[in-house]
Symmetry: C2
Subunit: 270 residues, 2 copies
């Protein structure tokens, strides 16, 4: 999600492979969110990537990439699948979907919601054995959601498995003012990564520049009942982000400040 | 000269100011030579730069920058003076000139020669006093190359000053195969920064990709009688550049391998 300048360096240092399934979602066409895509794609081409790359973003992004590739002569070794960002589900894969919402910024801008699909419920071996289903292929069939027959008796997956488990949801706002519709869009996300460019004392500036304060991010996170808030996109004017973090935590305690290369584990749901 | 991705970081860490006289010379439009210009110009705009920036490069660079600024909405706070690269002197300032030559690469590509103008010769106070020129304004006039009159006698600058001193010359090849015309163009440069993408054993690859080996760079430096050779643009395939450096030094001993942030002092000529 978004590619600031130099992101290929981070990408490589995090051990993310250059020839793995990759979807790049760009919120909007400001330089600090998009310049890094050129170097990343070029490095992928230099490493002879063959898998296509999916790119989601405003339609102008496609124009700019095409013009740039033509001018700069980056000979891509793989296809680009371009998906125009628009409100609603823009990508629907077997294991997850990606949903867009227009955000409130100085240019056409989108927020993203990355949502894992529901996972099957927990399998209870003792229940299966009790019903006479022997360990082996029939267990696997049940775990995959289909019924089996044991001595003429139909055994349903629901008889040996718990309830379906919800997938995880990660929200990412890009640059935006807070808005009621964003509360709804990000409701019950496990993690919300939100624009926190300014501190409370610079709230006027946040309005002018169409960004959010950390305080506003926290209010939104609280109202959307998210699991965790990650503040990001801090203005270079602040030597330390600690005051911004404190302001947010006064409203929404489970808040952290994003850092380059930060890794967070988001527990799966039971 | 050239702007790879992330160059703004280097620019800032080297203490180069964002609002000082700046000329950017781009050799050609391959991503690793040009992507960084976007972030640099954007950061200059964010810091409210007011002085114009001069950019020298192939004409397509101007098209790409214009398209990019329009799409990405980098609101520049300063003017860009664009100079199309073409053979000959492209910029002539009071203290230096910049000269271009077409190089031999897979796209329209230029090498640059940054040449300081001649400086006035050394001023000899004892000679001036001997001729009766009192210390003060008249010394300054002589030092600036104009005659003065002392008791009706004309004193010429040449009577109190040494010979004019040659300016320094720095050559930069960008990406290129070696070529006879480059030998001539870079003759007697104090420093020549030259494409050394490959080692001797990969010389076939150097031909195919239209780059040079460190050995070829050294041969050219020797024939052009430059003061010092700086190898640069090493292929990522080499873990160490030491073998490339050794190959070059076997031909041209005064060779160094460029490093990020390297600072070299080029002594003024007497």
């Amino acid at each position: 999600m978004d590619c600031g300048e130099g992101m290929q360096r981070q990408f490589l240092s995090m051990g993310l492979g250059l020839n793995r399934k990759t979807t790049i979602a760009i919120t909007h066409l400001h330089g600090d969110h998009v310049i890094g895509i050129l170097g990343l794609l070029q490095t992928m081409a230099l490493s002879q990537r063959t898998l296509p790359v999916t790119i989601i973003g405003p339609s102008k992004l496609k124009d700019w990439l095409e013009f740039t590739f033509e001018t700069i002569g980056i000979g891509l070794t793989f296809d680009l699948n371009f998906i125009y960002a628009k409100e609603g589900i823009v990508l629907n894969e077997k294991e997850y979907s990606i949903k867009c919402i227009r955000t409130v910024h100085s240019t056409e801008s989108y927020g993203y919601l990355f949502a894992e699909k529901e996972r099957p419920g927990r399998f209870y071996p003792e229940k299966a054995l009790e019903l006479g289903v022997p360990e082996g292929r029939k267990w696997s069939i049940l775990q995959h959601g289909r019924p089996v027959f044991v001595r003429g008796k139909k055994i349903l997956p629901s008889m040996v498995m718990g309830k379906k488990r919800a997938g995880r949801k990660i929200g990412y706002s890009g640059d935006t003012r807070p808005a009621e519709r964003l509360v709804k869009f990000y409701t019950c996300s496990d993690v919300l990564i939100f624009d926190s460019t300014f501190s409370f004392k610079d709230r006027r500036r946040a309005e002018e520049r169409m960004h959010s304060t950390s305080y506003e991010a926290a209010l939104l996170a609280k109202r959307a009942r998210v699991g965790m808030l990650i503040l990001t996109h801090f203005s270079a004017r602040y030597r330390s982000v600690l005051p911004l973090l404190k302001e947010a935590r006064s409203i929404f305690p489970n808040t952290v400040a994003a850092k380059d290369g930060m890794v967070l584990e988001i527990p799966q749901k039971e």
